[in-house]
Symmetry: C2
Amino acid sequence: MKRDIFQAIADPTRRAILVLIASNALTPNAIAEQFNTTRQAVSKHIKILNECELLDETKIGREIYYQLKIDKMKEVDQWLEQFKQIWENRFSQLDQVLINLKSKENGI
Amino acid sequence: MKRDIFQAIADPTRRAILVLIASNALTPNAIAEQFNTTRQAVSKHIKILNECELLDETKIGREIYYQLKIDKMKEVDQWLEQFKQIWENRFSQLDQVLINLKSKENGI
DNA sequence: AATATATGCAACTTTTTGGTTGCGCAATAT
DNA sequence: ATATTGCGCAACCAAAAAGTTGCATATATT
């Protein structure tokens, strides 16, 4: 199963879950209560998030508290870096389009 | 069809396309040549990226040049903001888990 | 000990995706 | 004018994802 963090955050429910457990450890039931969904559905999302290594687990009695392993989110930020460099250097998008086309015409 | 940028970047091929056309406007055929895939497959990815308003189109003759509308990528960065605040303030992830659980025990 | 609760897991169903094939249209080339 | 090229679009297909149901296990309550 090749899952990455980008797939994890593709689903809106999972994004909401991530926000929810970013600062508080919660049980699957507690999470499910926040949304219009069943515990089992949440449980599946948790499983996926777990496969992406996005979660910390803490078992207390029969309850399992999940919390976001926040460092993992940095991977998305790192991927964004390459685009940040562009949008910080670029004066205007339209200008750039024309420049690119022009350089293509000139065979550069 | 409700598509958002998070779904757009969920697919590895689409992420590669985004990087490819971040600084250069390219035609679907030119994009397809870079990968082990057909023009039609790329065409479908482009359609999705277009629905997410991630692309600029420039038609020249019978060719259509696509380029990443880089500002759109900022939306991902904005979403990340909420996590950045946490990972910048937090000393250690493990400490935090314990703190959260403790406050829960105390009914705070 | 018996019952209730919290959870994970596996099987199944429905929906969504990623890809291919084939078509038609517009623009270039011969 | 005819053939070729670049493209989008719709139909189809296989694979994956999201959700539901049911069951097994471990802990808590009585």
